[in-house]
């Protein structure tokens, strides 16, 4: 049973959407919480099981077209995630998981598929696959860092007035309009793998801060070295 003091992380549908090392985002949140003495309880929710609405941080990852459609159908039918967000929980949605947060996304033949409507975005199939390193300047509302990661998708995402871009791209495609990802309230969506929180520990801390309040600094030496190397490799000199 979850104790009241523990941080509750919920990983949604690893059996459908976790083909790009998405488990890494879970492991990083756990590590960065524990290093600060915050106890963590993580629930892996398979697609046949109900999504608990009592979590603090929800994660959903990337995957293939068919599992993406199945995940959207099940989340809509289940309703647990919607209740959790209404309660004030936060959510990191990556790639295929990012697209299904919107009102519509492109299916395996490019056909429009209904999303779950937690973000005011619409996605469709782009003309070519966006594959490669991405770097972008993050919205000052989220701290103004540089976002780094690896994108691999065919989606083009149009942001509606109900969300803000997560970042403006320096290198890479992202949403397809010069921005990458989006955020609204405590929901953050991004196309980035790497995984996103391995490359951007500041973003992990945004989620931890939302859930637990101000955070003590921790040793980020390995994170910093990896970030520096990746940014040097991709940023224009």
């Amino acid at each position: 049973m979850p104790s009241d003091s523990a941080l509750r992380i919920v990983w949604i549908y690893p059996d459908l959407l976790s083909t790009y090392g998405d488990q890494g985002n879970v492991l990083i949140l756990e590590q960065r919480a524990r290093k600060r003495g915050i106890p963590v309880e993580t629930v892996y929710v398979r697609s046949a099981d109900p999504v608990p609405d009592s979590g603090d941080i929800y994660l959903i990852g990337g995957g293939e077209d068919r599992p993406q459609i199945l995940a959207a159908e099940r989340l809509r039918r289940d309703g647990g995630l919607h209740r959790a967000i209404d309660r004030g929980a936060s959510m990191l949605a990556v790639c295929a998981g990012y697209q299904i947060m919107g009102t519509v996304f492109g299916g395996e033949e490019g056909q429009p598929v209904e999303g779950i409507g937690l973000l005011d975005i619409q996605s469709s199939r782009g003309p070519a696959r966006a594959v490669g390193e991405l770097a972008a300047e993050v919205d000052t509302g989220l701290g103004g860092h540089v976002l780094t990661g690896f994108e691999n998708h065919m989606g083009v995402t149009r942001l509606g007035p109900g969300v803000r871009p997560l970042s403006r791209t320096i290198v890479g495609i992202g949403n397809g309009d010069g921005t990458e990802g989006c955020h609204a309230g405590k929901i953050v969506g991004t196309y980035l793998h790497g995984p996103a929180l391995a490359r951007n520990p500041w973003l992990a801390d945004v989620f931890l801060g939302w859930a637990t309040g101000p955070l003590t600094p921790i040793d980020d030496a390995w994170y910093d070295r990896l970030r520096d190397e990746r940014l040097k490799a991709v940023l224009p000199r």
Partner: protein, 409 residues
């Protein structure tokens, strides 16, 4: 074999010249360039070279090269065999393999998963061997569910005998449209890509090697061959201890399916098995190399399922060097490192190198596995005391290490 038409003869001769040039100039082993030259001159070359031979195509995410080698070794009991022994597994490599041994009545071709439908159509191969499907180099390999769907379409309605691993649900789904299937229970240690039914998307219930969909009719077919620990059980329930010289569970699985393929060719286990035991190293994999009193065993692992099998082979009492790159053939996205459970290495001296050593360093740090970062492979080796050391590397990292030892295979 029948004579090739003149144009095809010329294309195949020029291809062989290019292959020889590639080898003598040290640019490669010649198996791709030779085939490419031939295919440009005669696009129909592969079909012509394949005609009138007994062919088996071998495909999977992991174990293709080794299983191709094992089946080749077996079929040599029956006659000459043409094969792409160096892992050049696209049509240019197949042309090169078949052109370099035109008299051979048998052909064993390793085929890239994506190319299987095309190569099947061109070569009209009569036997196909399918072992496993799992996530692999996602930035270029694409989606495995889609891949299995393409296998289904390619196999349907043709007179093909498939030998497939029924413990892998996605392989089963991809193979089951064939007119004849021999199901082999080879195990599936990596299950992270098969918790859902490929047929309907429902949850798969799994118990040991068995599995069944909770929502539709799709379930594991009854196997006739079984891998049972260190032995294979044949359709007559006779148990054969494998006693291979290649290490590890993955190679026992490869051997089990290779024995089932041999029987399709009329070769009984008692004649095939001694041939399997002769194989000691495949394209540098599992090779022991010596440097300054250290014996390094080289293990290749290209994706999470492959790392799981490599850890199983690796000796927990030894230090281990890990090397990771992210060049084109490796997949340029290193996210897959987070799908590998490295905690099994806790307690061993771990040395981290390769072009993407910092990705691996962070991964191990988060897993709580102590390690030492080394700028180069040489620096990692220099840290070792005399004695045995295990090395696990992904594709181009492995090739770089192999090149240092002069491809000593």
């Amino acid at each position: 074999m029948t004579q090739l038409p003149l144009r095809a003869q010329l294309a195949s001769a020029l291809g062989r010249t290019a292959a020889t040039l590639s080898r003598v100039t040290g640019r490669g082993d010649g198996s791709v360039i030779g085939g490419r030259v031939g295919l440009i001159l005669e696009p129909d070359l592969l079909r012509k070279l394949a005609a009138d031979r007994k062919l088996v195509l071998v495909s999977a995410t992991n174990g293709k090269t080794t299983t191709t080698r094992l089946i080749t070794s077996e079929l040599q009991e029956l006659g000459e065999v043409a094969t792409n022994a160096f892992g050049a597994n696209m049509p240019a490599g197949h042309v090169s393999a078949l052109a370099s041994n035109k008299q051979a009545p048998f052909g064993v071709l390793e085929v890239d998963e994506k190319y299987l439908p095309e190569v099947l159509e061109t070569t009209q191969a009569g036997v196909v061997c399918l072992m496993n499907l799992s996530r692999d180099q996602m930035d270029r390999a694409g989606e495995i569910w889609l891949l299995a769907q393409k296998w289904r379409r390619a196999l349907a309605g043709k007179d093909i005998h498939v030998v497939a691993n029924c413990d892998d649900p996605l392989v089963t789904w991809g193979a089951m449209t064939a007119s004849t299937v021999t199901w082999v229970s080879c195990g599936q240690p990596w299950k992270e890509d098969s918790w859902c039914c490929p047929e309907c998307g429902g949850p798969l219930d799994r118990k040991g090697d068995d599995w069944a969909c909770r929502e539709c009719h799709f379930r594991r077919p009854e196997p006739t061959w079984f891998l049972d620990d260190d032995a294979v059980i044949d359709p007559r329930r006779q148990r054969w201890v494998l006693d291979l010289r290649l290490p590890g569970r993955a190679n026992r699985a490869n051997a089990a399916i290779a024995l089932a393929v041999a029987e399709v060719f009329g070769l009984p286990v008692e004649r095939a098995l001694p041939r399997l035991r002769e194989v000691t190293s495949v394209a540098g994999r599992y090779t022991m190399v010596e440097r300054d009193g250290r014996s390094l065993r080289l293990l290749l692992a290209k994706n999470p399922a492959g790392w799981l099998e490599a850890f199983e082979v690796s000796d927990p009492s030894l230090p281990i060097v890990l090397s990771v790159n992210a060049q084109g053939p490796d997949g340029r996205d290193t996210s897959w490192l987070w799908d590998v459970d490295f905690r099994i290495l806790s307690g061993r001296p771990v040395y981290v190198t390769g072009e993407r050593r910092l990705d691996l360093a962070l991964r191990l740090d988060v897993a709580g596995v102590p390690f030492q970062l080394c700028e180069t492979f040489d620096a990692a080796v220099a840290q070792q005391r005399p004695g045995r050391v295990d090395v696990i590397a992904n594709y181009t990292a492995f090739q770089q290490i192999r090149a240092e030892f002069g491809r000593a295979v």
